[in-house]
Amino acid sequence: MAVVSNQTILAVDDSASMRQMVCYTLQGAGYTVVQAADGVEALDFARDREVDLVLTDVNMPRMDGITLVRELRAIHSYRYTPVLVLTTESGQEVRQRGKHAGATGWIVKPFNPELLLKTIARVL
């Protein structure tokens, strides 16, 4: 899927290989991608700079993805920024926690590159 875009996506995952796969997919569609290895790093970045979308894992050291969503929603400029959760967690209970924290959507790994891009295009 070719997308001409100057939009920036913040990809948050403690797995370097996952970040590489996400970056490869998003950059190929024309997005600018910035990376963070956990919620703390992502939040530090978000406090300094706005991005168009956040894509975050759930289980990460220092700060998990659900907490990150909640913290992002507390930042005025991130109140309406799409935040998609990309995780191996498929249970309903944790999805509901993500929803209540303010996540825009839930994607279970492994992601299909084409469907990930379609979902991102839909929420942006």
Partner: protein
């Protein structure tokens, strides 16, 4: 710990069967074996991490090269002209079809690489189970208490992140044989059913 005690400890780890009769117990031997499994898994995972990192670097390099051949790039235009000169008007269409096929393979590889991440996570949970079990087995005060074992099971269950892990846990804890659990695992393994990556929910 002084050097003598460190050496004693090392000897016990390397040759648990040689422990003095006072030190020897079945629980200690179980704990040794559990720690051994944990260490072997950690070592294998470290090696695999390096290998998969190298593999992903190669993959992204090749994938970027393929992307550079997409229509609109200088390389693609040059290649298209070359194909035209040698094989007529159908050349570019054939070329595009080949590029599309490679693109589909690349997308499949992106999905497949993600299974390594899942594997690392699941083996991390197995290692956590082994080390928790080793601690409990060696704790004389706790290992005889039924509620401590129940707490261990609850704690291990809560660490699981994937539905596959939860299903295996349920089956084994409910008394399924290893063969039955294995059969279930194989039928549920994503390699045996297409990984569509379509579990997406927008709130």
């Amino acid at each position: 710990m002084d050097l003598g005690r460190r050496l004693d400890a090392a000897e016990r780890v390397e040759a648990p069967a040689a422990a003095t009769p006072e030190e020897w117990s079945p629980e200690q031997q179980i704990a040794h074996l559990l720690r051994l499994c944990d260490a072997q898994m950690e070592s294998a995972l470290c090696e695999s991490d390096l290998a998969i990192d190298a593999l992903i670097k190669v993959f992204t390099t090749v994938a970027e090269a393929v992307r550079a051949l997409e229509p609109g790039t200088h390389t693609r235009a040059h290649a298209g002209a070359h194909t035209d000169a040698h094989s007529g008007a159908s050349g570019p269409a054939q070329y595009q079809a080949q590029l599309d096929a490679v693109g589909r393979q690349m997308a499949g590889a992106v999905v497949a690489f993600q299974f390594y991440d899942k594997l690392s996570q699941r083996l991390g949970h197995v290692r956590h189970s082994l080390s928790s079990l080793a601690r409990l087995v060696c704790d004389d005060a706790q290992s005889g208490q039924r509620e401590r074992w129940q707490a261990l099971f609850t704690q291990l269950r809560s660490a699981y992140r994937t539905e596959e892990e939860r299903q295996i846990f349920r089956r084994i804890v409910d008394g399924a044989s290893l063969d039955a659990a294995r059969e279930h695992m194989q039928s549920a393994t994503p390699a045996r059913r297409p990984a569509t990556g379509d579990d997406i929910e927008l709130f």
